[in-house]
């Protein structure tokens, strides 16, 4: 096509950008006055191939019979947090991959992996090539505690720790040191509980999951026997859900240890709580306060590992050893609650408490990053400002998933959120709020651009080769898959 490029009029004019030249090569009449194609195939691109991207695509394809959807993903492999976030011992949650696979294989859907939007191609170029762009690239960063010592060896964000045991290429070198007895996790959401559970699960359970081999080996050698899960508010404000709490309570070989005083007043508060919170709090109370029967006593006696929630504690400093390199403890500020229920706030009392530990994991929230200066971004809340998925002060730009609503919620939440955005987009297509009158070249021009820039995208069938290799490697060791840990190797397999 380079020959075609050079022989077409107007395409060798160096004053025109590469994009415009390519566009003219493919569509010589597209910007001539008076030439309009009235029933263009609507072309939409989605940035990010996690649940948000796929559910948005699914809904678009279902409700609009002509739309073509292209999904761009930075990594060679799709599925986002379903692959890199969901815990290895929760394989049923990953069943949703089958739905996403059907979507990817839809005749009007194409997957382009290994394309970094913002670096390999800009949002502006995507907007020119497509009628609409949906940003659903999630939250790749994390909130920081903002305390001294946060940079010490032995302190990790939960996002990185989870990425490490789930095989995210960017977390491969984490090498957390698990040679200490106590780990402290800040935050009490489901991610915190996942981390606690992975740290304390019997190896016999973990070795049959898709946890990465290096992480498994590190956990075999791990000295960690006690995990404290710390939150600045109280038992009624804990952010995890009952399924995950039950898994901790029932984790073989472990017993819980809580501070009874932390639960003062909680039983009285129960009657006013909505059902989900009530059931969760009842389980928490039972775990913390009930006197165990004989069988349970025996089980606890035999347990070699402990875990517990610690409430009304907020990190104020990570403490280092004499050389100032390694973590030896964490200083926690004591808080008290003002107000009650969901809206209760933690207020410092001035007291502190030091806890000896060698591993600190902060699980206080993921955070989205801006992708491109041309896209509006709310830096305070770290989301893209939008109304029902339509990006504010922009046309043809939409967002779905955590990028839209903030980084909380399970797959079902993201599904609803993405369907909502897709609905807004389809409404705009049908009401002509979105201009569908000009032909858009979609992936033809973007692929050409990428090739020009030396970027080789990975197709969905390429991913299936990677998938197949991972599954067959896993079979050898009784695991559902052995994940490939580097982008280079993923691409190498994709090219076979």
């Amino acid at each position: 096509f380079l020959v075609r490029l050079k022989t077409m009029k107007n395409t060798t004019d160096p004053s025109l950008g590469l994009y415009t030249r390519l566009n003219k090569a493919f569509f010589p009449f597209a910007d001539s006055p008076g030439v309009r194609f009235s029933s263009c195939t609507p072309k939409v691109c989605i940035v990010g191939s996690g649940p948000a991207g796929f559910y948005t695509a699914q809904h678009l394809l279902k409700t609009h019979q002509n739309v073509h959807v292209d999904i761009y993903e930075r990594l060679p492999v799709p599925f986002g947090l379903v692959r890199f976030g969901v815990a290895p011992d929760h394989p049923e949650v990953k069943n949703v991959i089958n739905t996403f696979t059907q979507t990817a294989k839809h005749s009007r859907c194409r997957f382009y992996g290994n394309v970094n939007v913002g670096k390999d191609v800009s949002v502006g170029e995507l907007k020119q090539a497509y009628h609409a762009v949906v940003l659903s690239y999630g939250a790749e960063g994390n909130r920081s505690m903002g305390v001294p010592g946060e940079g010490l060896a032995g302190v990790y964000s939960a996002k990185d720790f989870v990425g490490w045991y789930n095989g995210h290429p960017s977390c491969r070198e984490l090498n957390p040191d698990l040679n200490c007895e106590t780990a402290v996790i800040l935050g009490q959401g489901n991610v915190a509980l996942d981390v606690a559970r992975v740290l304390l699960s019997p190896i016999d359970i973990l070795k049959k999951t898709d946890i990465t081999q290096p992480a498994l080996e590190a956990l075999v050698r791990s000295q960690i026997r006690r995990v404290l899960i710390v939150g600045r508010r109280g038992p009624v404000q804990v952010a995890c859900t009952i399924k995950e709490l039950r898994e901790m309570v029932n984790l073989p070989g472990t017993k819980s240890e809580m501070v009874e005083a932390d639960f003062d007043g909680v039983t009285e508060a129960l009657k006013d709580l909505p059902r989900p919170r009530k059931r969760l709090t009842e389980l928490l109370l039972k775990t913390a306060l009930d006197t165990p029967g004989d069988k349970e006593q025996q089980r606890r006696h035999q347990a070699s590992r402990t875990w517990g929630f610690r409430f009304f504690r907020s990190p104020s400093e990570v403490l280092a050893d004499a050389d100032g390199n390694k973590t030896v403890g964490i200083r926690l500020a004591v808080t008290r609650l003002e107000g009650s229920g969901e809206g209760a706030r933690a207020v410092l009392t001035g007291e502190v408490e030091d806890v000896t530990c060698g591993l600190v994991i902060s699980s206080i929230g993921y955070k989205s990053h801006p992708i491109d200066p041309s896209v509006p971004f709310d830096t305070r809340r770290a989301v893209i400002p939008n109304t029902m998925g339509r990006v504010k002060q922009a046309t043809g730009l939409y967002c779905s998933g955590w990028l839209k609503t903030g980084p909380t919620g399970v797959i079902a939440t993201t599904m609803n959120n993405s369907f909502d955005t897709a609905r807004s987009l389809v409404e705009d297509m049908e009401s002509e709020a979105l201009d569908l009158s000009s032909v858009k070249t979609g992936s033809e021009v973007i692929s050409a651009l990428l090739e020009e820039r030396g970027v080789k995208s990975v197709s969905f069938s390429d991913w299936e080769k990677i998938d197949s290799v991972e599954m067959s490697r896993g079979e050898a060791s009784g695991k559902p898959r052995e994940k490939i840990l580097t982008v280079e190797e993923m691409i190498q397999v994709a090219r076979t």
């Binding site: 279902k62 929760h90 049923e92 949650v93 069943n95 949703v96 089958n98 739905t99 059907q102 049959k208 859900t241 009952i242 399924k243 039950r246 909505p274 059902r275 989900p276 919170r277 059931r279 969760l280 969901e342 809340r381 989301v383 029902m388 609503t405 903030g406 980084p407 909380t408 919620g409 399970v410 797959i411 079902a412 939440t413 599904m415 609803n416 959120n417 369907f419 909502d420 559902p480």
Partner: protein
């Protein structure tokens, strides 16, 4: 993993014992390509037709259906009405043993089943009409745990993948919750009311 293997082999055995024709298109084992039943041997099933028999795996995953040429046994028919998210009533003739989630899929009703009936999500959340709600067996603890995560939880909420039709559920009405457009931007989940 062992459970999946047991399901696969029990499926094959159940089919042979019950002499029924499986409907592979709606079965998640087929989608996962982990079904042990050889489709080429379907022809041999034809010769032993008995009454309408409807199979499910031991965890209520899959239902099978007789070919359409036989007259329906009226005792096996269960009338179901789905009320979709736009309020449209969709009556469906189902059979005893059908799974509400897969029945919905079969009739093109947009009830998602992200975790494929393994009690690991809440995407198949439905409201059951009052008259039939009490006729359902109580939810298992695991179902209640997942229901707790469903947006717009109500007293009559159930997970569709856990409802298996029985004759006394004839006339049941299942309403798909409206997907709210009022999403709290900070991810706050509205309290159930």
């Amino acid at each position: 993993m062992a459970a999946a293997a047991a399901v696969r082999s029990s499926m094959g055995l159940t089919l042979r014992l019950s002499r029924a024709i499986p409907d592979c298109s709606s079965c998640p084992l087929n989608r996962l390509k982990s079904c042990g039943v050889n489709p080429q041997s379907r022809g041999s099933f034809e010769s032993f037709r008995t009454m309408n028999r409807h199979l499910q795996t031991s965890i209520g995953l899959c239902h099978s259906e007789e070919g359409s040429s036989n007259a329906e046994d009226p005792e096996d028919v269960v009338n179901v009405v789905y009320i979709d998210r736009s309020g449209q009533r969709i009556p469906v003739k189902a059979k005893v043993g059908d799974n509400v989630l897969y029945l919905a899929h079969k009739h093109g009703i947009d009830l998602e089943g992200a975790c494929e009936a393994s009690l690991a999500c809440s995407t198949c959340h439905v409201y059951v009409n009052a008259e039939h709600f009490d006729k359902l067996p109580d939810p298992a603890e695991r179902e209640d745990d997942m229901l707790d995560m469903a947006p717009m939880l109500q007293e009559n909420s159930r997970l569709g993948c856990q409802i298996i039709l029985t004759p006394e559920l004839d006339g049941i009405e299942l309403t798909l919750p409206k997907i709210t457009r009022n999403f709290y931007v900070d991810g706050h989940v509205p309290k159930p009311h």
